[in-house]
């Protein structure tokens, strides 16, 4: 993975999930200023285009680094597992049947539950969604990329459920 697609390298930050918010913000300002088309030395469209591309890469990396979930997913990707891929080796690990059954069961409870039931269910899943991220970060810190990926996949299922409850809310 090159510096273009490794946000940590682009921002000159260690590949760790724990990141100083201040450091990210400061690096973002520096890099944005350097890449600003007005500060491009030399003229010609090539130099200008390169600056625009650089600024866009800086923005993309910033978006990933400042978001704890995207930051964790990026670290997993740097570790060789792409959660957006369905490749059996390098793609997102498949959850267990029991987990999928539970995801169906949650939806059925959502359909059956009254407003109070929905709110309780939502709180419960929100807590599990957060816990899944914490578990993923812990696995990343321990250097266990696959385990981190499994937790992040679970988190995506929980997130999906929460998105659904949001969109069905009155």
């Amino acid at each position: 993975m090159s510096a273009d697609t490794d946000p940590f390298a682009l921002f000159d930050l260690p590949r760790r999930h724990a990141a100083s918010r201040d450091a990210i913000e400061q690096r973002y300002l520096e890099l944005s200023r350097a890449a600003h088309p007005d500060n491009v030395v030399g003229d010609g469209t090539a130099a200008r285009r390169a600056a625009v591309e650089r600024a866009s890469a800086v923005n993309a990396a910033y978006r990933v680094l400042r978001d704890p979930v995207l930051r964790a997913e990026a670290l997993v990707k740097l570790g060789g597992i792409d959660l957006d891929s369905t490749d059996p080796e390098r793609g997102a690990p498949h959850p267990t049947q029991a987990f999928l059954l539970e995801m169906i069961d949650l939806r059925e409870r959502l359909e059956d539950g009254g407003p109070d039931g929905v709110a309780a269910l939502r709180d419960d899943v929100e807590a599990r969604c957060d816990a899944a991220l914490d578990a993923a970060v812990e696995a990343l810190d321990a250097g266990e990329v696959r385990r981190a990926a499994e937790h992040l996949v679970a988190r995506r299922y929980f997130q999906r459920f929460l998105d659904e409850t949001d969109s069905s809310a009155p």
């Binding site: 959660l83 891929s85 498949h94 959850p95 999928l100 995801m103 939806r107 299922y157 999906r160």
Partner: protein, 136 residues
């Protein structure tokens, strides 16, 4: 991205939504998920004398995933188990005119029907029919 009319039709009027009794010996249940997006699909078949007499699904996912599973439940009714095992995701994608970014939804539906058949066969104590890995 525009959905095809067939996808919209299945999405707005999904066929065979519901559940069959999971504990019934003649019912096979397949549950599959798409880890990248969090979609879940449950597809169930009821088999009598080697023929699929009923099929139900519940899919929590995008329109294409719902349409793919709805279409499969329509197709498999009246099919033999062996015929249903032959359903390919490419047929589903073609019928629904799925764009390339939504092909994985048809793969999910193929995986679901195969999982349901395997579950049924296991209940019968028969060895699962030989088949290759689903094409991704």
């Amino acid at each position: 991205m525009a959905y095809s009319n067939k996808v919209i039709d299945h999405y707005e009027h999904p066929r065979n939504v519901g559940s069959l009794d999971k504990g019934d010996q003649s019912v096979g249940t397949g549950i599959v998920g798409a880890p990248a997006c969090g979609d879940v699909m449950k597809l169930q078949i009821k088999v009598e004398n080697g023929v699929i007499t009923d099929a139900k699904f519940k899919t929590y996912g995008c329109g294409s995933a719902i349409a793919s599973s709805s279409l499969v439940t329509e197709w498999v009714k009246g099919m033999s188990v062996d015929q249903a095992m032959q359903i390919k995701n490419s047929q589903i994608a073609e019928e629904l005119s799925l764009p390339p970014v939504k092909i994985h939804c048809s793969v999910l539906a193929e995986d679901a029907i195969k999982a349901a058949i395997r579950d049924f066969q296991q209940k019968q104590g028969a060895a699962p029919a030989a088949e290759g890995e689903p094409q991704h």
